[in-house]
Symmetry: C2
Subunit: 429 residues, 2 copies
DNA sequence: CTGTTAGCGCTTTCAA
DNA sequence: TTGAAAGCGCTAACAG
C-alpha cells in the first residue's frame, strides 16, 4: 500500500510520504504536529493516522535546520568522572522535564593524551572537587591532580552550536569557554557548580562554600575544638576558594589558622594528614577540602596511632556516598547537588520564558511549582520541601525574582545564586 | 569589509558567504573542504582564505542532512552515575580519536520519578555494577537497587537517529533497546560492558567474569581458604552472572557453596556480611559482587568483632578507586575498563572499515595502530602494552579476526569479546 | 483552514 | 576544474 517512499538512505517515512498518504500538503502535516488545534478534525485524524501507519517520526535535524533552532535544552557536562555532576545533571533534567522542556546531555572528555599541550596546567577546574586522572596501574583515581588537561570537546560544542538549543546548562567548569561563544549570542547559558568565567554575563548556581565552612566551624567549636586545621587549597579554583573560606572563618573567630596543602585526592589528603599528625601542638580537628582528602586524613591519623574522633576529628565537603560508608562515616557538608541542579534549571527556564508560565509541552499531571510545596513529591525530591535558604552572590544586582514564585521579574539579571549547603554529622566529628 | 551575511538567526558565515567572498560557487567551497586535492591551488587558497577571514565553520547539522549521514561515532552512555562507564567512554573516545574518527557522547538518565511505571522493576541493568538510586536524605547511593527504572532517553536516541552517526557504541545496558532500531539498519552497533540484548546481532565487549571468579578462587585457595562465601546475586543481570560464576567455581573445585544475597550497594553487603559473620562454621573468606558490597561486608565483619583479614578475608569485583583507599584496601578484580572501551571501539572501527585502514579525517601526527605497539604511549595507555588475554563468548561463530591484527577478516561477525580481567591484591585478602 | 512557495546550509550530480 | 541546479526533511510565511 503505502510503501517504499523517500528518505534516501534509510527507509524512513518523510513528511512528504505522510502528506501523500493522507492526501494533504506537507505544510499541513507539519502544522498538524506542531499546532494540532489549527487543523480541522478530519484532516488531523487522517494525517495522524497516515503518520503512524507509516511509522513517521519527524526528523530532528531537518527540523532544527528549517526552524532555525531546536526545542531542546542542552546540558553540557564538563567531566564524566565527577559523580557530583551526574547528580546535578539528573536533577536539572528532571526539572526541565517537569516543565515540558526536554534536555539533551552531552559530555566532554579528557583530551587525547598525546594531544596538544595542556590548556590549563593547574586548573583542573571543577567545582565540587573530583578532578580525575590516571593513578598507578591505569586505575582512575578521582581527585588526583596530575595531567588534568581536559578540554571542552570541540565536537560536542559544535553539535550544540549547530543544533541551536534553546538554552545551555553547563555543569562544571569548562576549560575552553571561548567555544561557547559559537552559540547564537542570544542563547541563554547558565553554569552550575562552577563559577562562571570572568567577564561572562552568564549566571552560575553553586553551593555556598562560605556558608558550609561556617557550618563546620560552628559544629566543631560547639564540640570544644579550638585548633582546627585545613587540608586543601591546591588542585583548582574550588579548592582555593574553600581555603579562603577557611581563613576567613578562622580570622573572624580569632582562631589560629593552620593549613596543610592538598588537592582533591585521597593520597594528597593522606600526606597532609600525616604532616598534621606530627605537629607538636596537634590540631584537634581537621577540615578537608573534600571527602576524598578527608578520608586520606583519617587514614594517616589512624596510621599515626591516633584514635578517631577522640584524638582527631575530621570533617569535609561534598557528602559523596563515600562519606556515608560504614567504615568511613565522615561528617561533611552536603552541597545539595540536586538543589543546585534544580535551581540552575529553573534559572535557565526563567531566562527562556520570563513569564514563568509552565510550558505547554506534554501537560504532565504532577507538574509542580518550586514555590508551592507539592503534595506527594516522590522521594527523589524530598529535600526540596524544606524552606530553602538562598543568598545571592554578585554585588550590584537587586535581590529580586524568587524562582517559581508569585511575581517573577522580567529581566532575570545575571547574579549568581548560592545554594545554602547542609551539615551532615557522622561519627568522624 | 566582508560583513553581515546570511545565517538567519545567528551572524554566522555560511558556505554561500565564503563562496561570494572568494568569488566561486558554493559547490567548490564544499569540495575545497572535503577533498582539497580536487580544487586548483589558486582557488583553494582563495577559498580557505575567505573562509577563515569570515570565521566560517561548516554547519554540522546541515551537513548531516545533506550528506545523508554524519561523520561522527555516537557513544551512548546508559548511566551517568556509574564511574566504570565513564572510564570505558574515555578509553573508547581515545581510541576513536587515534584513528581519526571522532565521537560524541550522549547520556541517558533516569526517568522522571513521577513518570510512567517502572520498565524493569528488578533489572537495574548495568554490567559492571553500580545501579544508583536515592538513599535516605536524597543522597545518591550507588548500588542501591530501589526504583532503578531508568529508560533510554528517547530524545537522545532520536538525536542519534536523525544525525545518523556512522556507528554507535552503547555503554551499559540500555533498557529500551527497541529504540535503537530507529537507526538506519546498516549502522554498526557495539555494546560495551553489557550483554547485548537477546536476538541482537550486535556484538558486546565486556570483562570475563568467569575468569575473574577463577582468579579470585585461585588466590584465596592459595592462601588456604576452604570456606569461601559469595555475597551478591541480586540487583541485576551482572550480579546474577557473577553468582553463577561463583557457583560454577565452587562446584568445579568441590568446595561448598555459601551465598548471602545482596545487590550492588554497601548497605546490602553490610547486611549480608552480618549474616555471614553470625554463621556457625563461619566462612573464612567472602567474595562480594562488587567493591561497594565488599566494603559493606568488611564493615559488618568489623562490627561483629572479627579481625580483617585474619578472621575474614574479603575480595570483590570492579576495582573502583574505593578499593584503593587506605582505609579500605580491598583485594579485587579489575575489569580493565579502559581495555574494554578500547576494544569495543576497535570493534566498531573494524565494522566501519573492514580494511582497518586509518581513516582520512584530520590526519593526526600521532595516529597509532592497535597492532603496532606505539612508541611512547602516554600514561593513560600504559596498561595496554601487556599481552592481552582474550577469549570469545558466543558459541557458533568461527574464531576469526584478531582486532588490529595483521589480516583482519572481512566480515567482523557478531561474536562477543571477553576481556580477561586482572587480580589486584591488597590487604583485605 | 489549507496549499503553495521559499528557503535553512550543505552536498552532489551533471554539464560545461 | 568549475558552476548550476536539485535536493536532504522540514518549517514558515503568504495567499486563497
Amino acid at each position: 500500500m503505502s510503501g517504499m517512499s523517500s528518505a534516501r538512505g534509510t527507509g524512513r517515512a518523510t513528511i512528504r510520504d505522510v502528506a501523500a498518504e493522507a492526501g494533504v500538503s506537507t505544510g499541513l502535516v507539519s502544522l498538524a504536529f506542531k499546532d494540532p488545534a489549527r487543523v480541522s478534525a478530519v484532516r488531523r485524524a487522517r494525517i495522524l493516522d497516515a503518520a503512524d501507519r507509516l511509522g513517521y517520526r519527524p526528523n530532528f535535524v531537518a527540523r532544527s535546520l528549517a526552524a532555525d533552532g531546536s526545542s531542546f535544552i542542552g546540558i553540557l557536562l564538563s567531566d564524566l568522572h565527577n559523580p557530583l555532576f551526574a547528580e546535578i545533571a539528573d536533577a536539572a533534567r528532571q526539572e526541565f522535564d517537569a516543565h515540558g522542556s526536554y534536555a539533551l546531555i552531552a559530555s566532554a572528555t579528557k583530551a587525547r593524551p598525546e594531544g596538544r599541550a595542556p590548556e590549563n596546567p593547574e586548573e583542573g577546574g571543577q567545582a565540587g572537587s573530583g578532578a580525575s586522572a590516571r593513578g598507578p596501574g591505569g586505575l582512575r583515581v578521582p581527585g588526583a591532580t596530575g595531567g588534568a588537561d581536559r578540554i571542552a570537546d570541540e565536537q560536542v560544542i559544535a553539535m550544540f552550536r549547530d543544533l541551536r538549543p534553546r538554552g545551555v546548562l553547563v555543569i562544571g567548569t569548562i576549560a575552553d569557554t571561548a567555544l561557547l561563544s559559537g552559540l547564537p549570542s542570544a542563547t541563554p547559558v547558565v553554569y552550575a557548580s562552577a563559577v562562571s568565567p570572568e567577564g561572562s554575563a552568564h549566571p552560575s548556581v553553586r553551593a555556598d562554600d562560605d556558608a558550609g565552612m561556617a557550618l563546620l566551624f560552628d559544629h566543631l567549636t560547639g564540640r570544644g575544638h579550638q585548633r582546627i586545621a585545613f587540608v586543601g587549597g591546591a588542585g583548582g579554583e574550588v579548592s582555593r576558594l574553600r581555603l579562603e573560606a577557611y581563613l576567613a572563618q578562622a580570622e573572624a573567630r580569632g582562631m589560629p589558622a593552620l593549613v596543610a596543602r592538598a588537592d582533591f585526592s585521597e593520597q594528597s589528603g593522606y600526606r597532609a594528614g600525616a604532616e598534621l599528625a606530627g605537629l607538636d601542638p596537634r590540631p584537634t580537628a581537621v577540615i578537608a577540602v573534600n571527602d576524598l582528602a578527608g578520608i586520606g586524613v583519617q587514614a594517616a591519623a589512624e596510621q599515626a596511632g591516633l584514635r578517631l574522633p577522640a584524638d582527631l576529628a575530621v570533617a569535609a565537603f561534598d557528602n559523596t556516598y563515600l562519606a556515608g560508608l560504614h567504615r568511613i562515616s565522615l561528617t561533611t557538608i552536603d552541597p545539595r547537588n540536586a538543589e543546585v541542579g534544580r535551581r540552575a534549571a529553573s534559572r535557565l527556564l526563567l531566562a527562556l520564558d520570563p513569564d514563568g508560565a509552565r510550558h505547554a509541552g506534554l501537560p504532565r499531571d504532577g507538574a509542580r511549582n518550586a514555590s508551592a510545596p507539592g503534595a506527594g513529591d516522590s522521594d527523589a525530591l524530598r529535600d526540596v520541601s524544606s524552606p530553602i535558604g538562598e543568598s545571592r552572590g554578585a554585588a550590584s544586582a537587586p535581590r529580586s525574582a524568587r524562582f517559581g514564585g508569585a511575581h517573577a521579574v522580567a529581566s532575570p539579571g545575571t547574579e549568581d545564586v548560592l545554594v545554602r549547603p547542609e551539615l551532615i554529622v557522622r561519627d568522624s566529628a
